[in-house]
């Protein structure tokens, strides 16, 4: 079952917000199509919540405009936008039952009583809370409260659903469950969703497109696999798990393939950026730097930390020039041993420019 989205497009045109001299969000341009699931990803303080609050109408942008199907939302207060918002703290009304919480938005719209009741029942069924309609929020578990918050936001059939770190207060298992649930609701109800999170795994698994933010500036906008395999810069690379970063110098470049030296290491990899010489930042995921693995790049380290990861071990150690590297091994390695980590050059990224 899929429904058609209630929104054609949402356009953020240079959306910015400053608090005094502090720039929380710098000129964000984004076009969201109806039915898309967009994740705003970044560490705390990167401006992702600011962007969400601007879209929700809870804070006024200091620059730029939001267009909903070509209509500017400038000066439209939150209560007139009709977007469904799920807050990190859930923000459930403690003095109302679950049913009254979910019905609130419909009652504000002055729907007849029978219609309200019918739609609340439908929403309760969607989030599987049928039996708890007459409880108060304080009598529910965290996961149940989260479901109420989601039901309350989607029962008004909003053109756009905004979620601000909705899963960050739940334990790991529940987080996975709710993730699937949110994705299911998004698809079944034909929602258009903007989802704010600092958890890259969550963003990758949920979103059609991601916006990686840093200090208010969008670093990269793209599909999950694009960002996962082709991060635009060392910052995004680090954020999406390229935990090895080494400052080197580019010696040769042939199209996308380059050769770099530095810190006593020599590496060939895929060059990202302009220029065929000068400083580069090498980036490799620990998963791609494997003891006894394939690849033309080889780095020898003396292991000083080993972490069990279930299927494999993550190793940490220093090269003889004192460069710290993280790699993977199928078998346990005793601390103090010297091992050679290998990586194929198509898994090695070289970012030109001082990173």
């Amino acid at each position: 079952m899929t429904a058609t989205p209630r929104l054609r497009e949402l356009v953020l045109d240079g959306l910015s917000r400053s608090f005094g001299k502090q720039i929380a969000l710098a000129a964000l341009d984004l076009r969201i199509e109806g039915g898309e699931f967009i994740a705003l990803l970044g560490p705390s303080g990167c401006g992702k919540s600011t962007a969400l609050n601007c879209i929700a109408g809870l804070i006024a942008p200091t620059g730029g405009t939001i267009f909903l199907d070509g209509r500017s939302l400038d000066g439209t207060p939150s209560e007139k936008r009709g977007f469904g918002v799920v807050f990190q703290s859930y923000a459930l009304f403690q003095h109302m039952t679950v049913r009254a919480n979910i019905a609130f938005g419909l009652r504000m719209r002055r729907l007849p009583k029978e219609r309200v009741a019918a739609r609340v029942d439908q929403a309760l069924a969607l989030v599987q809370l049928e039996g708890l309609a007459d409880r108060y929020p304080s009598q529910l578990s965290g996961g149940q409260q989260q479901r109420v918050a989601i039901a309350r936001a989607i029962v008004i059939e909003p053109p756009l659903v905004l979620m601000d770190e909705p899963l960050s207060n739940l334990d790991a298992k529940l987080r996975l469950e709710m993730r699937t649930e949110i994705r299911r609701l998004h698809r079944e109800l034909g929602l258009t969703t903007i989802y704010v999170t600092h958890d890259q795994e969550e963003a990758f698994s949920l979103a059609d497109r991601l916006v990686v933010l840093r200090e208010g500036v969008a670093q990269q906008i793209g599909a999950p696999d694009e960002i996962y395999y082709r991060p635009a810069n060392p910052y995004v690379a680090d954020f999406v798990g390229f935990r090895n970063a080494v400052a080197m110098t580019l010696e040769r470049r042939d199209g996308y393939v380059g050769l770099a030296r530095g810190r006593g290491l020599r590496a060939s990899g895929r060059v990202s950026g302009v220029g065929s010489s000068g400083p580069v930042t090498l980036a490799i995921r620990p998963d791609d730097l494997v003891v006894g693995g394939p690849g033309e790049n080889a780095f020898e380290i003396t292991v000083d930390a080993v972490e069990f990861r279930g299927r494999s071990f993550v190793l940490e150690g220093l090269t003889d020039t004192g460069q710290r590297l993280r790699g993977t091994s199928a078998a346990a390695v005793p601390i103090g041993d010297a091992v050679t980590l290998r990586a194929p050059s198509d898994r090695v990224l070289l970012f030109t420019g001082a990173g």
Binding site: L58, E79, Q94, F104, Y136, S138
Partner: protein
């Protein structure tokens, strides 16, 4: 055994409560019980309930209950109702907030007598306002602004409002501002956000605020004498208790009046708490289910 007691929160640290318990017993419990017993041993009237019978038989005494309630209830209501919009506007951070709070709370430090003096200087028969009115020829005789019901009510508002305001402000601070934002995203305008979200959550706190300012106002004495009309319309219950004790030297009757005073206060408190319990429909305890 000791461990089992400790599991119920009973351990040696509890002994630290002893001084406080002793203090309460000596300062409150003993005088209260002494007064209670004394009130049943009338000096001038017959029978154990003589004092009480006399109080309710004599309109001069009996009416003091209505007079005092007539002052304390409107004063407490006004203080609570006036503090809500002011505190509501002052939730956020803004320039000069501390100064404004300081100014609103200042009357607390003044004391009733000083406020009464100020009111007399300003609004008394020979106060500034009356002198101005007389000199301007607007009135023939001084206007009676104070030394009546309104003078006392005014002092009760001036002294009681800061308490009500501070309490309301802190109760409002305890309400998550995200709730109103959530309500806004669901289509609630500013009025609906206040009346449907903030106000119901604030109501239990307002009941407590009302009780505290009411009790404070019910014991009114200095201002009822200084800026009121102690023989007539501001003949509050504490005045007749004072007279019984220190003008008629009838400690027994004075004790009886004090007991009646306490009973009336208790009755109002119980009524307000009862209403509060009915108004707040949420569960009283937290607890996850």
């Amino acid at each position: 055994m000791r461990r089992r007691l400790a599991a119920h929160g009973i351990d040696r640290a509890l002994l630290l409560l002893l001084p406080a318990v002793a203090f309460v017993a000596v300062i409150f419990l003993y005088p209260f019980l002494y007064g209670l017993v004394l009130s049943f041993k009338p000096e001038r009237y017959v029978g154990a309930f003589g004092n009480y019978q006399q109080f309710f038989a004599d309109p001069f005494l009996r009416d003091t209950i209505a007079i005092t309630l007539g002052l304390a209830v409107p004063a407490a209501l006004f203080n609570v109702i006036a503090s809500v919009p002011i505190a509501y506007r002052m939730r956020g951070a803004f320039r000069g907030k501390r100064l404004l709070i300081g100014m609103l709370v200042m009357p607390v430090t003044l004391g009733t007598v000083l406020i009464a003096k100020g009111l007399l200087t300003l609004l008394g028969a020979r106060g500034w306002v009356n002198r101005a009115l007389l000199d301007l020829g607007l009135v023939e005789d001084p206007v009676r602004f104070v030394n009546n019901y309104w003078g006392v009510l005014l002092t009760l508002v001036i002294t009681g409002f800061p308490f009500a305001f501070l309490l309301t402000l802190s109760y409002l601070g305890g309400i998550d501002p995200m709730l109103e934002r959530a309500a806004a995203t669901l289509g609630a305008g500013p009025r609906q956000r206040f009346w449907r979200i903030t106000f119901p959550l604030l109501l239990p706190g307002l009941a407590i605020t009302f009780i505290l300012t009411f009790v404070l106002a019910f014991a009114v004495f200095p201002s009822a004498v200084l800026v009121g009309e102690p023989a007539g319309e501001t003949r509050v219950i504490s005045i007749v208790a004072y007279r019984a004790a220190y003008e008629q030297f009838d400690a027994s009757m004075a004790s009886a009046i004090a007991m009646i005073m306490g009973a009336v206060q208790l009755a109002v408190v119980v009524i307000v708490l009862g209403v509060r319990g009915r108004l707040y429909r949420g569960p009283s305890g937290g607890g996850k289910g």
